[in-house]
């Protein structure tokens, strides 16, 4: 009889590849191709008739909750949102299909990024069984067709290590900066404002916001203010003013999100489902 010890983390991950992360050509190539994966238009104006911006926020918030509860890899959620936006930019969709679409996008993103992907059955349970696994599989083909099978989209996460590597931060601070930046990236994905921004700008703004936020409590960076923004902007060839604006927007979204969370905490549980838990859990760890 064979005995199996399952105490180690069952998820296999590749070790960071220095050949990829320490080669500037990789960063340059990412910067070159990232725009190809942006949604083709701001679809609330030109494509969608039934779907409103607040509905995208609802479905995005739900997707984030599912990804967090299932402990998906960090990239899964932003990638799924990228699929959702690209699909909605091309296909007019009734709001009753939106949750199914969100589930399909998580299904695909999880399969692309994870060693043990989410199952169709599990995702259907998360829709309170309002859809069937068979429907999910059929719509998977529809979404694949409409996305032209281009699933390996560039996300802000692809830039994080490239940016962090070029900052003069002490190594022991990097993991905290990385964690906060990842939370900001997830936050940006829930907000349509950021849907048309290049992923490199969101990544750069998130790292900037993470350092600025942490700086208030402890000394995480030898660079501050304009010097930091200048350096960040140079790393990803982002315009300095755009970057500043992006970083400010991220901070606003964070503030709103925190306020929302406090309201939810204040016992207003009777609020309708629309506003339920619109705060990514990790944000609760952040002190401003």
């Amino acid at each position: 009889m064979e005995l199996l010890c399952c105490e180690v983390d069952p998820v296999r991950r590749a070790v960071p590849d220095a050949n990829l992360l320490h080669d500037d050509r990789v960063l340059q190539n990412l910067l070159t191709i990232e725009e190809r994966y942006l949604p083709q238009c701001s679809y609330f104006k030109c494509v969608q008739k039934d779907i409103q911006p607040y509905m995208r926020r609802m479905v995005a918030t739900w997707m984030l909750e599912v990804c967090e509860e299932q402990k998906c890899e960090e990239e899964v959620f932003p990638l799924a949102i990228n699929y959702l936006d690209r699909f909605l930019a091309g296909v007019p969709t009734p709001k009753t299909h939106l949750q199914l679409l969100g589930a399909v996008c998580m299904f695909l993103a999880s399969k692309l990024k994870e060693t043990i992907p989410l199952t169709a059955e599990k995702l259907c349970i998360y829709t309170d069984n309002s859809i069937k696994p068979q429907e999910l599989l059929e719509w998977e083909l529809v979404v694949l067709g409409k996305l032209k099978w281009n699933l390996a989209a560039v996300t802000p996460h692809d830039f994080i290590e490239h940016i962090l590597r070029k900052l003069p931060q002490p190594n022991e601070k990097l993991s905290l900066i990385r964690k906060h930046a990842q939370t900001f990236i997830a936050l940006c994905a829930t907000d349509f404002k950021f849907a048309m921004y290049p992923p490199s700008m969101i990544a750069t703004g998130s790292v900037g916001a993470a350092i600025c936020g942490l700086q208030q409590d402890e000394d995480v960076s030898s660079l501050t203010g304009d010097a930091l923004v200048d350096l960040l902007a140079r790393i990803t060839n982002t315009d300095v003013d755009c970057l500043k604006a992006c970083q400010e927007q991220i901070e606003v979204v964070l503030l709103n999100s925190l306020q929302q969370y406090r309201q939810d905490q204040d016992g207003s549980k009777s609020e309708d489902e629309l506003d339920q838990a619109s705060t990514p859990t990790d944000v609760r760890d952040i002190d401003l």
Binding site: R36, I116, K148
Partner: protein
């Protein structure tokens, strides 16, 4: 590694994430929209490749289609399941054309196309398409439909067989 590992992340009984967001879902409507969207995917592919993927007939257009014989495909590309298996693919045998092809699964679709024909563009083309950008005349260079993937696979296999 099996499913059971992920099931370590069972859905908590009282998970707030289990909820329906926009009221009841009309299954019939889903079905109709799914069919319509799949049909439009097929139509896009038809226009892109001047090939009717349902009847498997070449149409007039930029690409010249020709039948491939004797591919000697590796086993992994052989179809399995209800459509049967062909153990000899070297003799130019191919299954009879199936009008019902697209009602089957995409996997069958894939395999059958791969066996039936190869694509010869009139002008030289990069084997690997780049991901889709905005629509433009550069249509030869981008993957404009899911069938582009069949295309590159076909080319890959085909060129390998050439001396």
């Amino acid at each position: 590694m099996s499913e059971s590992t992920r099931d370590a992340h069972q859905i908590p009984r009282s998970s707030k994430a289990c909820r329906r967001l926009f009221g009841p879902v009309d299954s019939e409507q889903l079905r109709q929209d799914c069919d319509a969207l799949m049909a439009s995917c097929v139509q896009e592919a038809r226009e892109r490749w001047n090939f009717d993927f349902i009847t498997e007939t070449p149409l007039e257009g930029d690409f010249a289609w020709e039948r491939v014989r004797g591919l000697g495909l590796p086993k992994i590309y052989l179809p399995t399941g209800p459509r049967g298996t062909w153990d000899d693919l070297g003799g130019g045998k191919r299954p009879s054309t199936s009008p019902a092809l697209l009602q089957g699964t995409s996997q069958e679709d894939h395999v059958d196309l791969l066996l039936s024909c190869t694509l010869v563009p009139h002008s030289p083309e990069r084997p690997e398409g780049s991901p889709g950008g905005p629509a433009s005349q550069g249509r030869k260079r981008r993957q404009t439909s899911m069938t582009d993937f069949y295309h590159s696979k076909r080319r890959l296999i085909f060129s390998k067989r050439k001396p």
